[in-house]
């Protein structure tokens, strides 16, 4: 037996240092995901005595879900919710950041005004908005009325407006948060680029689109990941404002997951939704990561 000297010595310290984190990630992230994946292949309903013990049904839960028109509607609602919240919150966050990125007396007040919805818990924010949305005398309807709005006022009860009303609350809540990231980005921009642009006679619009926005690209990538994930995982305001209704019109994926697990006590179906969730989020994050790394290179 010949002993070969190792070319590189295995250094235990780095592994030791990440060990606690690895354990936590394995225990609280990887293990539940694997467990859900496993459970999603079984039929198990806690509120039916004879289905309490899991039975293997292969892809049965997935097939059931995707052949259920309610679930398809839930997916559509989720997509609409994401399309409705993510781009607008980001654009608003950017505009707010431009607005408050100047040296004016009392600018702190405006920054705070844009940022404060973020500090509120979602349930409180939704409760406030519940009163804003009240027909007849609610603040939101009154304000819209002053702008000449004469359409329906029953925001949370109208099947065409319920999803929009939870989207509005999410935008109101998140724009200020994204503003903070853009503000930090803006304040780190190199001043000499702007001096050069001014010397070359670029106007404000050109400076904004050709210099500021491209320089903030990394910030935008980061914010869009945060916003996308956030759109998937906030659900509290739906409980407060619409309970997923009317007629499931504002039921999104996470709300449906809760409903399947705790209202219908269907462990198999809720596990399947969890898996769908993880796959979508993972796909999005990985794609985003690869794309941004490639451009950086």
């Amino acid at each position: 037996m010949s002993v070969q000297a190792p070319r590189k010595q295995l250094k235990p310290l780095p592994y030791l240092l990440i060990f606690p984190t690895a354990v936590f990630v394995a225990l609280f992230t990887a293990w539940p995901v694997l467990l859900s994946l496993y459970q999603s292949f079984f039929r198990q309903r806690m509120n039916i005595a004879r289905f309490r013990e899991p039975t293997f049904i292969g892809f049965g839960n997935y097939i059931d879900l995707f052949s259920d028109p309610y679930f398809i509607q839930t997916i559509k609602n989720t997509l609409n919710y994401i399309l409705g919240t993510v781009p607008i919150s980001i654009v608003l966050g950017f505009l707010f950041a431009l607005l408050v990125n100047r040296k004016v007396r009392g600018i702190g007040f405006f920054r705070l005004a844009f940022f404060h919805p973020m500090v509120l818990p979602m349930v409180s924010a939704a409760t406030i908005w519940m009163f804003f949305f009240t027909p007849d005398y609610g603040l939101f309807n009154t304000a819209l009325g002053l702008l000449g709005y004469t359409g329906p006022q029953n925001w949370t009860g109208n099947p065409n407006l319920a999803l929009l009303s939870v989207i509005i609350v999410a935008i109101w809540k998140n724009s200020g948060y994204y503003m903070i990231f853009y503000l930090a980005g803006l304040q780190n921009l190199p001043g000499d680029v702007y001096e050069a642009a001014a010397l070359d006679g670029a106007n404000g619009w050109q400076t904004l689109w050709q210099i500021t926005f491209p320089l903030l690209r990394r910030t935008t990538v980061f914010i869009s990941i945060v916003a996308f994930i956030d759109a998937f995982r906030t659900v509290d305001h739906i409980f407060v404002l619409t309970s997923g209704g009317p007629s499931r019109g504002s039921t999104v994926l996470l709300f449906e997951l809760w409903q399947q697990r705790f209202e219908y006590q269907d462990i198999g179906a809720s596990a399947a939704i969890t898996v769908i969730f993880v796959v979508v989020l993972l796909a999005f994050t990985v794609t985003n990561f690869i794309l941004s790394e490639r451009k950086e290179a």
Partner: protein, 434 residues
């Protein structure tokens, strides 16, 4: 002098010690100390935690070997979720929990709760104990001839009205759908941009407030845990009446109203003349209103008929708790169903006192003289049917909500919506009721 003082102190301690020692041994016999947890929700605008802590102090003084740990866990759904996750995760559930009376079948099917018949049989007069509860509140306690829960914080659907507005318009409280709709129409007043409505009816979680309409038309929406009745002509008529209140009579805002949280304020401020709501809102409404507040069951379709439906939470004993904890839990439940505590809880929270004997306590007699409306909420129960409690409740209720909201929002005709709801609900019950 000094020695005498010390002697006195020592003697006092001996005396007190022997008395305390004697009394605890007398009551506790050879009981081992036991600690139980009580999971409870807060679903009304009342200092429930404070009130319960007071009762627990009294209870522990009487049963020194039992320690009760109250655990506030959010709303009803949150308490049930907390228990489910505890049990599924392999933990020991609380010995006793306050959960919706209608959660019965889901809890039995999941094997979470223990029947209580053994405890009743061991009581000196168990039959009298059970019969003292208002029968409407026991409707969801029995299954398979066994008793599974004891009523605790119970309420009923009632119609609140602004009696001053009725008097000013020369109207009597309604006695039928017709007079109800006419009163609502007469009390709907539009001045400029603002409308003061005759009626508000919250419909974002509609089955509960709707049920008395169906009962008032002569057909409740369920028959038993396996049979729902959504497509009966009487039920469809009730859905249509609700729609007509806004469409035909123009007495109520149109469409689904997510107004549970604002309706009481609107009644108190005069923005509406009547609201359908829980009896549990009585205390808050009385505190806010500067007019005479009327409370009654819904008028039924026919002249002189009325309808209501009970709601609220019961005590359940969890099967997964150790036997000695279950026994201690029963003692706690029995303690809290003593008339004086039932009366006190009702007076301090607005829930309906759930036992006949509670109405004979001095506290309740005095209270009812001051607040006769409290009696009106109880009397509404004379006209009540069973609250929607079925197998697979979450799904069946979701289906009903889905379709009645379509009808209210004008997306489907009432008959069409209820027929579709019936088909889906029957399918959702098929696995449960072979």
């Amino acid at each position: 002098m000094r020695n005498k003082k010390i002697l006195l102190v020592v003697l006092t301690f001996l005396l007190v010690g022997s008395v305390v020692g004697f009394s605890t041994t007398a009551i506790a016999q050879e009981e081992e100390p036991v600690t139980i947890q009580v999971f409870y929700p807060v679903a009304v605008d009342a200092p429930i935690a404070e009130i319960l802590n007071g009762y627990i102090d009294d209870f522990q003084a009487e049963y020194p070997y039992i320690t009760v740990e109250p655990v506030f866990s959010g709303g009803y759904a949150d308490v049930q979720t907390a228990i489910q996750t505890t049990i599924d995760g392999g933990g020991e559930p609380p010995a006793v929990a306050v959960l919706l009376a209608t959660a019965l079948y889901d809890l039995i099917n999941a094997d979470y709760i223990a029947p209580l018949d053994g405890y009743i049989a061991d009581m000196e007069d168990g039959e009298a104990y059970v019969e003292d509860f208002l029968p409407a509140f026991l409707a969801n306690s029995y299954y398979d001839d066994q008793l599974w829960s004891i009523p605790f914080q119970r309420s009923a659907v009632v119609l609140y009205y602004n009696a001053d507005m009725f008097a000013a318009a020369g109207l009597e409280p309604p006695t039928s759908w017709e007079s109800w709709a006419e009163a609502a129409q007469a009390l709907t007043v539009t001045e400029g941009d603002t409308t003061n409505w005759g009626m508000h009816f919250s419909s974002d979680w509609p089955y509960w407030l709707f049920q008395p309409l169906a009962i008032g038309a002569g057909q409740n929406i369920l028959e038993d845990d396996c049979t729902v009745v959504f497509d009966d002509p009487a039920v469809i008529e009730a859905v249509q009446f609700l729609i007509d209140l806004s469409g035909e009579y123009g007495a109520m805002p149109a469409g689904v109203q997510a107004s549970w949280g604002t309706d009481t304020t609107d009644l108190a401020s005069g923005a509406t003349a009547m609201i359908a709501h829980s009896s549990g809102s009585l205390a808050g409404l009385l505190a806010q209103s500067d007019f005479e507040l009327g409370v009654m069951p819904y008028p039924g379709k026919e002249e002189g008929t009325y309808a209501s439906v009970p709601g609220g939470g019961n005590f359940y004993i969890m099967k997964g708790a150790a036997p000695e904890k279950q026994d201690a839990a029963w003692k706690f439940i029995e303690f809290l169903s003593r008339p004086e505590y039932v009366a006190d809880y009702s007076i301090n929270t607005g829930y309906i006192a759930n036992r006949y004997s509670a109405y004979e306590t001095d506290a309740m007699v005095t209270y009812v003289e001051e607040v006769p409306q409290a009696l009106a909420t109880r009397d509404a129960l004379e006209f009540s049917g069973a609250e929607l409690a079925t197998q697979n409740l979450g799904q069946v209720r979701g289906i009903f909500h889905d379709y009645i909201q379509r009808a209210i929002n004008g997306e489907m005709a009432a008959a069409e919506a209820m027929a579709a709801a019936q088909v889906e609900a029957d399918a959702a019950l098929a696995d449960f009721c072979p």
